[in-house]
């Protein structure tokens, strides 16, 4: 991503290259660490693939390259490779003591940019920076070729996307781009319909992807086809092949998310039972919740595939290939599931949420337990949708907060096709779903004032709201035109600057997505992976002060969960400011401050006065 080019680190490139090493063998970790340090690289070591993913998600822009062993106990190195490629689009180097051609080929097929044989020599490590450099060059090329087009699209269509939880799109932008890159890697995968051979990369902007997802949902997952999508999207320069390959990646992503969550739930099932029991929402074993959702929609295949995945994982050497086989199976499923869920937000949403939140148990029915307002909110996260966020979604336990209204701001009424995570956060935004959503929305808006008057209660949820902030800013950014009409003058400039800043939105959305659910049940989070917590804490802090501005502006606009603002106020107490600087690049925070500051000015003064941004 462009941001990494502007970091000071690059002045002495390749020195200071941030490398993440993943290997279950502690001896190798030590040796590699030492060797990489000799190359003047910044090294982080990890013994588990899961930890590595957490680290990577925590600091989306925190690493330049990943070096991973092929054989690891908790996750196959190739799967880790896929995840990194999908979610973070970082170059990954595989290593192994085995140098069989078949293995090396698999590595390349899964997207590894290199495959090193152990024992690794210093000279080989010295040269790894070339992969980072190459990738950046390619990205720049792609971005530049579409920048003008998409920049215009974003600004112009900001208002169009308002309803659809725009901030998610920012995240989509990142992951879409990444997925686009990955697409080429998966050409040899077995998704027969599409002849998506290697071609010029189309950068799928937030806006574009949103249109895509909208079209997909409109048509219906089971009836979807690239031609239909293309027609619906009505983007003149897009070709059927572009759509086809994007659809392929989208499906792949959904199925991987599904798998990943299932695996996670199966692995972490025992660990997370605590927090799930606390909530009315209950904790779902991911697998179970997935199956429930799927079965609700009459698609049991996911469940099956998930189970298969789990059982395969347990002991076979060749499970990788099995998993791949499974991947192709349920590809169609998630969409169906989504279809089924969409029309019935209340019902389907909560299980989705739980899905995300809890690993452990197999309680199924949130719907019965969760009060309506809460329920509606939680399901917003659609696991299948959020590529990068799914993992983090699982982490949040939440929604148990005592204040039902709190949820609302988290919910971002994204387009049903949009990433579910964002939806969760946006809360107040106009729900994309008809009927229940709309009235739900109304409730939220009204409850905002009540929330603000109870700052103390918000404290618990602090992390939650804070997290979703980034996404809100995204929304605001992208939908500048919708924001407080009274402040149109002051806004547009800020908004546009924010709009053009894709990175901001990306950073925000990614971190938001991860953190979104964190908020409500902080207590319950203890069982969750530490990364999630970090995300929450880290991401929450910068937004504490921004919330106020948010809140106000959105009221005038279309109700983006301003509640967030109120709740976020509590944040400063919870978050360590140091985390902010770690998690958020300075320009992001600055940009956001400016944004909020200006937006705030246009809105009622209210409580947002504590904005740091005030000069």
């Amino acid at each position: 991503m462009e941001s990494s080019f502007s970091s000071p680190r690059n002045d002495t490139f390749p020195a200071g290259l941030r490398v993440l090493v993943v290997d279950d063998d502690p001896t190798w970790l030590k040796i590699l660490e030492k060797m990489l340090k000799r190359c003047s690289y910044e090294v982080t070591t990890c013994g588990l693939a899961r930890d590595a993913l957490h680290l990577l998600r925590q600091k989306k822009d925190g690493y330049d390259i990943v070096i991973s062993d092929v054989n690891m106990p908790d996750m196959d190195g190739f799967r880790l490779l896929e995840h990194v490629g999908l979610e973070m689009d970082l170059p990954v180097i595989m290593m192994s003591v085995d140098g069989e051609t078949s293995r090396v080929m698999r590595g390349v097929q899964h997207g590894a940019c290199d495959y090193l044989l152990k024992p690794i020599r210093m000279k080989e490590l010295r040269n790894i920076w070339q992969h980072v450099f190459r990738k950046k060059i390619h990205e720049i090329r792609d971005i530049e070729s579409h920048e003008s087009l998409e920049g215009i699209q974003l600004i112009r269509s900001g208002s169009d996307q308002y309803d659809e939880g725009y901030f998610l799109n920012a995240d989509d932008l990142t992951s879409s781009r990444k997925r686009k890159d990955v697409d080429n890697k998966y050409d040899d995968k077995d998704f027969a319909d599409f002849s998506s051979t290697k071609k010029a990369r189309v950068v799928w902007s937030v806006d574009l992807h949103q249109k895509f997802v909208k079209a997909v949902h409109h048509i219906g997952f089971d009836k979807v086809g690239p031609k239909k999508i293309l027609d619906l999207m009505n983007v003149p320069w897009l070709t059927r092949e572009n759509v086809a390959s994007h659809l392929q990646k989208y499906r792949l992503y959904l199925s991987r998310l599904q798998k990943e969550n299932e695996l996670k739930s199966s692995c972490g099932g025992m660990k997370h039972s605590d927090y799930s029991s606390k909530d009315a929402q209950g904790s779902f074993g991911l697998q179970n919740s997935i199956s429930i959702q799927q079965s609700d929609v009459a698609h049991g295949s996911f469940k099956v595939s998930g189970d298969n995945l789990v059982s395969q994982r347990v002991g076979t050497k060749s499970h990788e290939s099995d998993i791949e086989g499974i991947v192709s199976e349920p590809v169609a499923e998630p969409k169906k599931g989504l279809n089924g869920n969409i029309p019935d937000p209340q019902k389907t949403r909560s299980p989705q949420m739980d899905f995300n939140n809890s690993y452990a148990e197999t309680k199924i029915c949130l719907i019965g337990n969760v009060p309506d307002s809460q329920k509606i909110r939680t399901p917003q996260v659609r696991p299948s949708h959020s590529i990068a966020l799914v993992e983090s979604e699982v982490n949040f336990t939440e929604f148990e907060s005592a204040i039902p209204t709190k949820y609302s701001w988290n919910e971002i009424p994204l387009n049903k096709a949009q990433k579910p995570l964002i939806q969760l956060n946006s809360g107040f935004n106009k729900p994309p779903l008809p009927g229940p959503h709309s009235h739900f929305q109304v409730d939220r808006v009204q409850s905002i004032p009540s929330i603000s008057s109870r700052p103390s209660t918000a404290e618990e949820d602090v992390t939650g709201p804070a997290k979703s902030k980034p996404s809100y800013s995204e929304c605001i950014n992208t939908q500048g035109s919708h924001v407080s009409p009274s402040t149109t003058d002051s806004f547009p400039d800020q908004i546009k600057s924010c709009l053009v800043n894709h990175q901001v939105s990306e950073a925000i959305s990614t971190s938001t997505a991860n953190m979104e659910y964190q908020g409500f049940n902080l207590n319950c989070i203890t069982d969750l992976e530490s990364a999630q917590r970090n995300l929450i804490m880290g991401s929450a802090s910068p937004f504490a002060s921004l919330d106020d501005g948010f809140q106000i502006c959105w009221y005038q606009g279309d109700c983006y969960g301003m509640n967030l603002g109120l709740q976020n106020i509590e944040f400063p107490e919870y978050n360590d400011p140091a985390l902010v600087s770690e998690l958020w690049p300075f320009w992001v925070v600055t940009g956001l401050f400016f944004f909020f500051f200006f937006s705030f000015r246009g809105c009622q003064p209210a409580e947002s006065i504590n904005l740091h941004a005030y000069p």
Binding site: D25, P26, T27, K34, M35, N71, K118, P119
Partner: protein, 150 residues
């Protein structure tokens, strides 16, 4: 000086380890990574290695106790052992482990088991030689590196 003869002894020991192919170039790599922060890097890593590999050997032993033998688990262990041995330059152990893996792949139970004995023996030999070597090394102070086999 005493140091000199000690160092000579250390150097000789070291050289023989290479000559007998008990150690390979990777060991030299470890030595080269030694610096102010990790003055005894090679020894540290060897210690780590012995700790982990001993556990692995026990696991393999258990897995071979009675049929049916889980080939996948066994291969996993052996792969790990091979990897760690490669990391510290434990040449003979690595080679014997690899042979055992091949026997396993060929589903030759007898050969797998007999090969395992060789693996254990190589491991024991290595340990028996490295411990006095490092001990002497510490006593002698920084030693001149002998020429590793190319």
């Amino acid at each position: 000086m005493e140091g000199n003869s000690l160092r000579e002894q250390v150097a000789a020991m070291r050289q023989s380890l290479f000559d007998e192919e008990i150690l390979d170039k990777q060991f030299v790599q470890m030595e080269e990574l030694e610096d102010v922060h990790n003055p005894n890097f090679a020894e540290e890593l060897m210690t780590l290695y012995f700790r982990d590999s001993s556990k692995l050997l026990v696991s393999v032993e258990k897995a071979l106790e009675r049929p049916p033998y889980d080939a996948n688990i066994l291969d996993k262990f052996l792969h790990q052992l091979k990897g760690s041995s490669a990391s510290v330059g434990a040449n003979k152990v690595r080679i014997e482990t690899n042979k055992m893996r091949e026997a396993l792949k060929a589903e030759d139970v007898e050969r797998t088991k007999s090969q395992f004995q060789l693996v254990k023996r190589a491991h024991k030999t290595l340990k028996g030689k490295m411990e006095p070597y490092f001990h002497l090394l510490r006593q002698a102070g920084p030693a001149d590196a002998a020429q590793p086999p190319e």
